[in-house]
Amino acid sequence: MLFSSLLLSALAAQGTTGTASPALSQTAIQPDAIVAADGSLQEGKIVILEDGKIRSVTDQAPSGVPLTKVSGVLAAGMIDAATGRGADLFLTEQSQTLTPDLRAADGLNLDSEAWEAMLSRGITSVHIVPDPTNPLAGQGVLVSCGSGTGVPQVLRASTVQVASLIQTAVNDDRVGPSSLSGAMELLRKAFAEGGAAELPLWCFVENAEGLRAVSSLAGERPFHAVLWGELGGYAGAAAGQLAILPTLGEGELPRRAATWRAMHKAGVRFAFSTRGGNAEWNSLRTSAMAFSRFSGDAQAAWQAVTTNPAEALGMKPSMGAIAAGQRADLVLWSGHPLDATARVEAVMIAGESVYHAPPVPKKP
């Protein structure tokens, strides 16, 4: 309700952009508080939007800019670091062992019900990756979950080169490889012979051997590992790295608590992904909440669903935080997003209102 009125004012402002003063193309939002990049609440901030981006975050409303006050907490939209949601059912190409040029962008399903489901949970961008069933699986795609026209938008059609050293990829019973070292041999050759695009490298791993081998292979390329399997036994090899982690699965909470704490202590930074994690729509947020409790570090927990996935995707300058120059992918929450009682009120993507929650019936 609040955002739709905001939308009207924003549209009104943009309708006059052509010749009027620059200030007229801007709009200002003043929520009760914003969630800063470090996860803390800051009150009294005014967010100025222009051309779908955040122009600035100030304490004073500039004159001549229409100001809309909204009640609630304004936060950057969450980013799913790796997912299969929003794509065809199958992103598994099994005819070949190495498929570096396979693009998840070609498997998108823009009619999927997933997009609205994600928006309604405060997720504004997702990174869809091919299934990790081939040692070289293909390329990911970064998608904005909505737009002013109601259709999701591809932000970047080729994000990263996805590799995989998990069992299904290194133990292919049809044509091989039949081993981790054999899969590494194939990757080494593909890289040496230029058979893999010069994109950042993301690799699915489930043991220290694979993680060590592929991170040394990555060399100068930006590299991030997607950690699967029993993390406690090997995640120490990711110390100092920004790693992609599956969200909390059902019944995993007691087991993950100690592991996440130890990983946090060992200096592993997290970016949560629903690929290989919980299929529950809300799991990105609930995992961040759980991580916040286990690690005692709310900042790291919030960053694991916003700035860290943005950083891993090389998009940190343009998404993941409420700051000047960022895309105006904003979510209005009824409280702090890591507070269990908070719910999504409305979502804006690139400055346009794309979702608002149905009214909550008041208790008599």
């Binding site: 019973d173 091989g176 039949s178 981790l180 070292s181 041999e185 040496a192 051997e209 130890a262």
Partner: protein
């Protein structure tokens, strides 16, 4: 009050230098085995910052670490090992994988490394398995001092890779052809239908690959721009830049290796295992070709720890039909049978073993039937002694020994066994220290107690070759990583 009393006592109680995180020590030893065959009585060895900085014969110093009657040796170097290598990391989709690196898949956190360290082994050559004709590149590791990947493990408890491309492993004999399904009568949409199927085929594949590599080298010298990771490795083998390790057990396999060496003018080859190599010792000595022996197992102990048991035999000879998901999950197909643990031992004739080798191809990868029984009728525990007597350079390997702590098969046991069967004690020590270090290209920093070498040392409770002796202290890069003194 109590605290101050304890503090006052502390200097008297404490052995000098109890801080096991430090890497500088002074050790006074009664007997020093240098690693090159020499033994020095009463020596003072100084370690500074992980290196040996002084070795003074007859020296002594107040406060030096000293245990009465103890012997000091270099950290043992295992010339041939499968520590930390999971049997299921064998690449079977192709028969020739020269650029495969075992270092990519070695589990540095594996308990085998810690067990080896407890037995005084501080460095090892890790070999790719022998199921491929050209198996790939081995790795030199230290068995400790590395950062563990296990979040809940002690610091520095993992092995560390020193050289990930150390030598090229190739296989002669039965291993590379065993288990390959013939195209006729078998389901062939599976990588197990690969070649070769015979001993001849193995050599054929190897020659084909080396000829390709020679063409590659010639084309590149002619200025044709090209890159092939596999041929690149074979080219290094042809030039002698890396050693070629021929796994050859029967004497005619060793002779085949020598023929191939001549055909391709390979400057740098090593015979691995050489179960019957004593028969051609003279030729090996004349050609200055070193041998790394496979482990000599105590036959009875091996049967207890590794031999198939009655229920397994039944399962192998007449596999149970796959009925249940849990059985299907077990790659070996037999581990799910609980009654195996209870079943008794079964003596096996060579005939039965050979049959098992034939019917159980998957076992080839796990080391159960690595062929030692069927390859090497003339095997003798005196192999190392016989080779040394003929002038061959011998190193001793532990192979699977450290994955198999139940058997008395650790590297020091290999040396003791060799001495028991006629090898000179000095030569036996050399064969587990400086010689394998040199063989693996690290002879200038491993395998000797000498100035400038890595401070990898083992202090034994007595003569290391006596079966009553055990490691008291093990140092790795100058840090005390094993301390068994309290068990005296």
């Amino acid at each position: 009050m109590i605290v101050s009393t304890l503090l006052a006592l502390a200097p008297c109680l404490a052995l000098p230098q109890q801080d096991d995180s430090k890497d500088s020590w002074t050790i006074a030893v009664d007997q020093l085995h240098v690693g090159d065959g020499r033994v020095v009585e009463n020596a003072l060895v100084t370690i500074t910052d992980g290196k040996i900085t002084a070795v003074v014969p007859g020296g002594s110093a107040a406060g030096a670490l000293h245990v009465d009657g103890a012997h000091l040796t270099p950290g043992l170097v295992d010339a041939f090992s499968y520590m930390g290598i999971d049997p299921h990391t064998v690449e079977e989709s192709r028969e020739s994988t020269p650029s495969l690196r075992v270092a990519d898949s070695v589990r540095l956190d594996a308990p085998a490394f810690a067990e080896a360290l407890q037995e005084g082994v501080t460095a090892a050559f890790l070999s790719p398995d022998s199921l491929n004709v050209i198996g790939g590149l081995g790795a030199m590791v230290k068995t400790g001092g590395g950062a563990p990947a296990d979040l809940f493990a002690d610091a520095n408890s993992a092995a560390q890779v020193l050289d990930g491309a150390n030598a090229l492993k190739v296989s002669l004999g039965g291993d590379a052809s065993r288990g390959n399904w013939t195209p006729s009568g078998r389901f062939t949409s599976n990588y197990r239908a690969r070649r070769p199927n015979t001993r001849m085929g193995t050599v054929w594949v190897m020659r084909r690959e080396f000829y390709r590599a020679m063409d590659y080298v010639a084309a590149r010298e002619a200025g044709v721009p090209m890159y092939d990771a596999d041929l690149e490795v074979l080219a290094q083998a042809l030039s002698g830049e890396i050693a070629v390790r021929f796994q050859a057990r029967r004497s005619h396999d060793v002779e085949t290796a020598l023929r191939l060496q001549k055909e391709f003018s390979l400057p740098n080859i090593v015979i691995e295992e050489g179960t019957e190599a004593q028969a051609v010792g003279g030729v090996l000595a004349a050609g200055d070709i070193p041998v790394v022996t496979g482990p000599a197992y105590d036959a009875a102990a091996r049967m207890i720890a590794r031999g198939p048991q009655a229920a397994e035999l039944r399962a192998l000879v007449a596999p149970e039909p796959v009925c249940c998901e849990d059985q299907h999950d077990d790659p070996e197909g037999v581990g799910v049978h609980e009654d195996h643990k209870e079943s008794g031992l079964m003596p096996l004739s060579d005939f039965v073993l050979d049959k098992l080798v034939a019917v159980a191809p998957r076992y080839g990868a796990s080391g159960y039937f690595s062929g030692r029984r069927s390859e090497g009728r003339d095997a003798t525990p005196a192999l190392a002694a016989l080779l040394a007597e003929q002038g061959v350079s011998v190193s001793l390997g532990g192979a699977e020994a450290h994955d198999n702590p139940l058997t008395e098969a650790s590297l020091i046991h290999q040396a003791r066994n060799a001495v028991r069967w006629g090898m000179e004690p000095g030569a036996a020590i050399t064969a587990i220290t400086s010689r394998p270090a040199t063989l693996c290209g690290l002879g200038d920093r491993l395998g000797q107690v000498a100035v400038g070498f890595d401070a990898d040392l083992v202090l034994w409770s007595g003569d290391p070759l006596a079966s009553t002796s055990r490691p008291l202290l093990v140092f790795l890069d100058g840090r005390m990583v094993v301390d068994h003194r309290s068990q005296n």
